[in-house]
Amino acid sequence: MTEAYLVAQDLHKSFNEHKAVDGVSFSIEKGEIFGLLGPNGAGKTTTIRMLSTVLEPDSGDIIVGGYSVRHNADAVRNLIGVCPQELALYEELSALDNLVFFGRMAGLNGKEAKAQALSHLELLGLKERAKGRVDKFSGGMKRRVNLAVSLMGHPQFLFLDEPTVGIDPQSRNNIYETIEALRDKGMTILYTTHYMEEADRLCKRVAIIDGGRIIALDTPLTLRSKIGPPEQVTLEDVFLRLTGRSLRD
């Protein structure tokens, strides 16, 4: 029996009258890449913010690595790394400076932070540009720095919120390879994306969220099988079937 590393139990979150997340529950196994898919405004980011201790749920709880986000958020923060959708970097500084700074904030000392930063930059193919200013980097390089920052410290669980949005195929491929390498080393990952082929390639299971609720949760293959022959149906077809084709803001 596989061990659940993250368990989300009946999460609710409202902003004024708007229910952003309405009873979300799921669990993620250790070493699994779990996809959270949904149209804009479906509740993905709010869910990730609650899982990563930034937002407190109105009700429900989240257990990460055996610790409750509600009652022991500090312990949870020791276990997680977050790669937000925005390029949350200090672009006036070098890639190395960014990584070292966030490493220090994650509890590393100066020496450890520098060693880890160089190692992560090498992993993401950026070692040669370690001392270059981030604002001079291409979009793809910035995305890779964004991912590298989330690896600082000793995270065992990664939240990757659309880490490949708007980048070139080379950078995207580098990020895929990095994520797969991390998974092979035992990292547990929650992954959100709008690229369905990404979810199909990387995720062991995906949950589709809409209107603050999870409307489907299974392996990509099983989800595809539910609406037709899996070799003829894409995850995008499943997504559109379940969430509708109307445009979302």
Partner: protein
């Protein structure tokens, strides 16, 4: 061991806010636009103001003169003597040009030397200068008239002395040239080493423009940092770095203290440059007054940083933060007496008590101009420190990385 462990934890808790401050100061020092705004602009404005109004503690003016006497000995002598007066320029005009300028109000006072000026003096008759003026001739005109009158009177007195000496020695066999040389020598000695001299001694507030302007300009530019502080906080919230920091082992309290230290450091660097400039270039301070001014700067910068954090905490967009900060800054600058002296009673006086600037400017003036000590500005320091502390509590309670979140 327990103490060491506790001490280590405290140090660790302090280290992260300091690292945040250090990082942001590095960014600040790399941002040339921010640096220019913080340092060069106040220096440039101060230099311009100083160039326009400063550096002069005595009168400077021009005597506009029409000499209607062609080749007259004493009119030429008068013009020479006026040319020797410090800080007075002589502008010779034709009669028609002078009249025209008086008509157009280009000039308020012109001295006319009449055509019989030398002739009358040589004949021992009273000569007169004519001061043509519009109204009272203006402040400069009155001062110039007084100077010209004084020089003319002295010249007339010298001539009278010469005439009386000549009369006294007329039958003694002393030659006219010997007498002229001796009298000339005596009068020149008297001019070079007058028996009565005047020494200026400044009591109380120095009339130096530097002393008058520097506190206001320094305080105003440190206060402008409120806008940068508020905007930076909103900008960081927008680009997601604050949210990302909250997913590390950094507590929200440490993050807030870090942000306070960032703004405090930036404001302090900016203020330090200005007071070092005042100290090194304008010699405004004694070494003790310099140290005391540093204490004022620290209290004021702390207060300003707290206020900036409050604005940054309540603003939901960069535009909002800028407008709130600009409105607050302008109101505080105007009410603080930066540009004009606040009367000691009345509504403005009451309102000025609500401006943190008034306490800072008051404290600087007490130290720099009045030469008093820190014990004389206890109230001002207390108010500034109080604003800093209360501002921090209010800012912290309003501070959210995102709506509905931590």
């Amino acid at each position: 061991m327990a103490t060491n462990s506790h001490g280590g934890k405290v140090l660790d808790k302090l280290a992260k806010p300091l690292l945040i401050a250090l990082l942001q100061v590095r960014i600040y020092l790399k941002d040339r636009a921010d640096l220019a705004f913080s340092f060069l602009l106040p220096i440039a404005i101060f230099a311009l103001t100083y160039g326009a109004f400063g550096g002069e503690t005595s009168f400077n003016g021009t005597a506009h003169i029409v000499n209607e006497e062609e080749g007259g000995l004493y009119s030429a002598l008068l013009l020479d003597r006026l040319g020797e007066v410090d800080n007075l320029d002589v502008d010779l005009l034709s009669a028609s040009k002078a009249e025209s300028k008086l008509d157009r109000v280009d000039l308020l006072m012109v001295v006319f030397i009449p055509s019989d000026f030398s002739e009358r003096l040589e004949a021992g008759e009273p000569a007169k200068l004519v001061f043509k003026q519009r109204g009272n001739g203006g402040d400069e005109g009155q001062i110039v008239a007084s100077i010209v009158g004084g020089v003319a009177n002295r010249m007339a007195q010298e001539l009278q002395v010469r005439n009386e000496v000549a009369e006294a020695v007329a039958d003694t066999g002393i030659s006219q040239s010997d007498m002229e040389n001796t009298v000339q020598q005596l009068l020149e000695n008297e001019r070079e080493s007058p028996s009565v001299t005047v020494e200026e001694e400044i009591v109380g507030v120095s009339p130096d423009i530097v002393n008058d302007l520097m506190p206001g300009i320094l305080v105003m530019f440190v206060l402008f940092a409120i806008t940068l502080t508020a905007r930076a906080l909103v900008e960081e919230r927008k680009r997601g770095t604050l949210e990302r920091l909250l997913t590390t082992q950094l507590s929200i309290g440490q993050l807030f203290v870090g942000k306070f230290l960032v703004n405090f450091s930036r404001g302090l660097i900016q203020a330090l440059v200005l007071i070092l400039l005042a100290y090194a270039v304008f010699q405004m301070f004694t070494p003790l007054a310099f140290v005391e001014s540093l204490v004022i700067v620290i209290a004021f910068v702390a207060a300003v940083s707290s206020l900036g954090l409050i604005i940054g905490s309540i603003a939901r967009s960069e535009d909002q933060s800028i407008w709130i900060a600009v409105f607050f800054t302008m109101a505080t600058v105007i009410l603080g007496g930066t540009f004009f002296e606040i009367p000691e009673s009345g509504i403005l006086s009451v309102l000025s008590k609500l401006s943190i600037n008034s306490y800072a400017i008051d404290a600087f003036e007490t130290i720099i101009s009045d030469g008093d000590s820190l014990s004389d500005i206890g109230i001002q320091l207390g108010v500034m420190t109080g604003v800093a502390v209360i501002g921090l509590f209010i800012g912290r309670s309003l501070f959210r990385v995102m709506p509905g979140g931590r």
